[in-house]
């Protein structure tokens, strides 16, 4: 009578078996391209007390559908419950969980950096290393654009901070599952080749 069966752990409590070691999960949600869809998804998250870390929305190649890429924070609830609740929305067609290890992810960063005559070349050099583009130039400022993984954007932001960031904007994350490729050992071991 004293030993607690495993099913007694409420699903809503952390400590379940879902892999939360990354702290967040990326969901790719295919939705019908109808008025109010974004509001429905956003309201569901708010109403059920789920946290959205970031959100990106864009039409797909099929104009009937849009794709939402939602990065969710799993502090209070399991991924399973979030996806099941999302599935209840009539306009949601398909939900794919994108494993951070098994996917390519990109965000876009725009940053206005203080760039006087002395620091300008250093900033441009740094931009070159990261593959950032200079997309606007003022007398004492530069606007940089960088599309890369969230980690690389963090690194880049840390480095340009030294020169003085006037303003920074980041988009929500977009993600796609990594392509399968043959490995030298045969089979389809993903994520090893690079």
């Amino acid at each position: 009578m004293t030993n607690t069966p495993p099913n007694l752990i409420p699903m809503s409590m952390p400590g379940g078996k879902s892999s939360t070691e990354f702290g967040y999960h990326v969901l790719s949600v295919l939705v019908e391209n109808k008025a109010g869809v974004l509001a429905r998804v956003a309201q569901l998250f708010s109403r059920r007390g789920y946290n959205i870390y970031s959100l990106a929305v864009a039409p797909t190649d099929d104009e009937r559908f849009s794709r939402l890429t939602v990065v969710v924070d799993l502090e209070s609830v399991t991924l399973e419950q979030i996806t099941k609740q999302l599935h209840k929305l009539i306009n949601v067609i398909k939900i794919t969980e994108i494993d951070p290890r098994e996917s390519v992810q990109q965000e876009l960063l725009l940053a206005i950096v203080a760039a006087d005559t002395q620091s300008r070349s250093q900033i441009m050099e740094l931009a070159g290393i990261f593959g950032a583009k200079v997309i606007d130039v003022g007398l004492e400022r530069l606007t940089l654009a960088l599309a890369d993984t969230p980690d690389r954007l963090d690194d880049f932001t840390d480095l340009i901070k030294v020169f003085g960031i006037i303003e920074v904007q980041r988009t929500g994350r977009v993600a796609l599952t990594k392509l399968a490729r043959p490995s030298s050992r045969g089979g389809m071991n993903r994520g090893k080749a690079s």
């Binding site: 607690t4 069966p5 752990i9 699903m11 109010g36 509001a39 099941k84 009539i90 067609i93 398909k94």
Partner: protein, 573 residues
């Protein structure tokens, strides 16, 4: 055929088989009310839009068909929000049509404009704002499909006035176009087999039966399954009537005010066979202490309910009726088919001794001659013809209704479980009577509830819908009073209502009802008998009940179900 959007809406409702709508007209919905004159659909003119919503719910709960309400924009739409939220919590299929300001005025803060689809997004299964009259038949078809399939629930169609007036070419769609909506109805065979095995292995099983069984029309199938297994059944507040109370295997209602045996059977069981129930907090008490030894089979049409509160050992997504039928077969097949049942005689005996030792009990012959509310409900139940429908408001009277009425048929208990909407009884009873004119409909109501929606008795009189109201008048917001007495050191804050302000008899008479007042136990039976004879008008009996009565048993909020308080009748035991 060129017709207006409004005509297309009414025609679509006819195509959908709607025979009655509950509603109240106003500016933005005016175009729709014109073709209603020529339609065979019966329109019932309510006195408040909330009433229209609850009537649609009562209709749906009593008939298992979708209820329909039509109201105008803005304040009418916000008035029906409570009914939508109520139907969403209790999975009641209703279709609400609201007028909206013209598409050209949307977003301009126009007269009687409200963001109805925005407001109701989280309390409907889905809603639609129609932008072009050509969408109307398609949307109506989809709305009824969504409301009545899968996990039933409320839907809303918001119809702007200019769209109602717009001409369109009539068509009736053959199919719905909902690529993201495909409810699973058949249980997974492997899960069914696993469930059958657990059922065979269980020594102390309990069937935990919820409202889903009633919504799915699965009562007959359930009875077959239960009798095949010879296992005890509890029926939740929403599931009352899904399995007959008179059946020897029925233990009654579990939960905060359930029977001792139902609560404790679940608590001590080694297997809960959960059918169309959702581990509501009023059933589980403190979740971490709920049925600690039990394995869980959980059958629900809504995948999100599986594992939401309690992880299931065998989760089964499916229509509970189909799954029960599949289970009945699976018990005789394969590995499970070769096993015998393990349910023990000790378990049956244990349950029986609890039932004998701790039945529902109240003071049946009080020395001071006071009128006990439980006695009133008991008499109502005994004197009611078979198949009588009981509607209820929310509070103490609802719990006494659920405890002391004998429910033997599905769809005979119409109440607000999840949302707990005071004032539900009267409009819901009216809706139920409209849906089942062949049945007697009683409502048990409290004085607090009565004051919230009594105006619908005018609707009942005007539309000749005879319902009977048993008003348990204890002059208090009784359930709140009970909590203040038990958990707030008897500091009574804003719960006193007065026994005679308003004068309920005069009020009921003013609304066209026959009204009686009963103050002593001796008058209870003769007055109910009189009321049961009246079938051409609504009847209100005001029972002046003992205000000191509390609902027992009670599991205090936040406590585990091991801590049932049995009440004063069991003191010294």
């Amino acid at each position: 055929m060129r017709i207006t959007g409004a005509q297309a809406l009414v025609k679509s409702l006819e195509m959908q088989g709607v025979d009655v709508v509950f509603g109240l007209p106003g500016g933005a919905i005016l175009p729709v009310y014109d073709p209603i004159i020529d339609s065979p659909i019966r329109h019932i003119l309510v006195r408040h839009e909330q009433g229209a919503g609850h009537m649609a719910e009562g209709y749906a709960q009593a008939t298992n068909k979708p209820g329909v309400a039509i109201v105008t924009s803005g304040p009418a739409a916000t008035n029906i929000v409570t009914a939508l939220a109520d139907a969403y919590m209790d999975s009641i299929p209703i279709v609400v049509i609201t007028g909206q300001v013209a598409t050209t005025s949307i977003g301009t803060d126009a007269f009687q404009e409200a963001d109805t689809t925005g407001i109701t997004m989280s309390i409907t299964k889905h809603n639609w704002l129609i932008k072009d009259a050509s969408e109307i038949p398609q949307v109506v078809k989809e709305a009824f499909h969504v409301a009545t399939t899968g996990r039933p629930g409320p839907v809303l169609i918001d119809l702007p006035k200019d769209v109602s007036n717009q001409m369109m070419d009539w068509y009736w769609p053959e199919n719905v176009d909902l690529p993201g909506y495909k409810p699973t109805t058949k249980g997974h065979p492997r899960s069914i087999a696993a469930a059958a095995k657990l059922i065979k292995e269980a020594k102390k099983p309990v069937f935990y039966v919820g409202g889903g069984v009633i919504r799915a029309g699965a009562s007959a199938a359930l009875k077959t399954l239960v009798e095949k297994c010879n296992m005890p059944v509890v029926t939740t507040l929403m599931g009352r009537g899904a399995f007959p109370d008179d059946h020897p295997l029925c233990l009654g209602m579990p939960g905060m005010h359930g029977t001792y045996t139902a609560i404790t059977a679940m608590q001590k069981s080694d297997l809960l066979i959960t059918l169309g129930a959702r581990f509501d907090d009023r059933v589980t008490g403190k979740v971490s202490g709920f049925a600690p030894e039990a394995k869980i089979i959980h059958v629900d049409i809504d995948p999100a309910e599986l594992g939401k509160v309690r992880r299931a050992d065998v989760p089964i997504v499916g229509d509970v009726k189909l799954v029960i039928e599949e289970l009945i077969e699976a018990l005789d097949k394969g590995e499970a088919g070769e096993m015998g049942y393990s349910i023990t005689k000790e378990w049956h005996n244990q349950l029986k001794s609890w039932q004998e030792e701790f039945p529902l009990r109240y003071e049946e012959d009080p020395k001071d001659g006071s009128l006990k509310p439980q006695y009133v409900v008991e008499c109502l139940s005994k004197l009611a013809p078979e198949g009588t429908i009981l509607a209820s408001g929310v509070g103490q009277h609802q719990m006494w209704g659920s405890q002391y009425w004998h429910f033997n048929d599905a769809n005979t208990w119409v109440n607000s479980g999840g949302l707990g909407t005071m004032g539900f009884a009267i409009p819901a009873a009216i809706g139920a009577k409209v849906g089942r004119p062949d049945k007697m409909v009683w409502a048990v109501d409290g004085d607090g509830c009565f004051q919230m929606t009594a105006q619908e008795l005018v609707t009942a009189s005007a539309e000749r819908i005879p319902v009977k109201i048993a008003l348990l008048n204890n002059a208090y917001l009784g359930m709140v009073r009970q909590w203040q007495e038990m958990f707030y050191e008897q500091r009574y804050s804003e719960v006193y209502l007065s026994p005679d302000l308003p004068d309920y008899v005069k009020w009921a008479e003013a609304m066209g009802c026959v009204a009686f007042r009963v103050e002593t136990p001796e008058d209870v039976i003769p007055t109910i008998e009189k009321a049961n004879q009246i079938n051409d008008r609504s009847v209100v009996i005001e029972f002046r009940t003992d205000w000191r009565e509390k609902v027992f048993p009670m599991v205090p909020s936040g406590a585990t179900n091991d801590e049932v308080v049995l009440g004063p009748m069991f003191e010294g035991q």
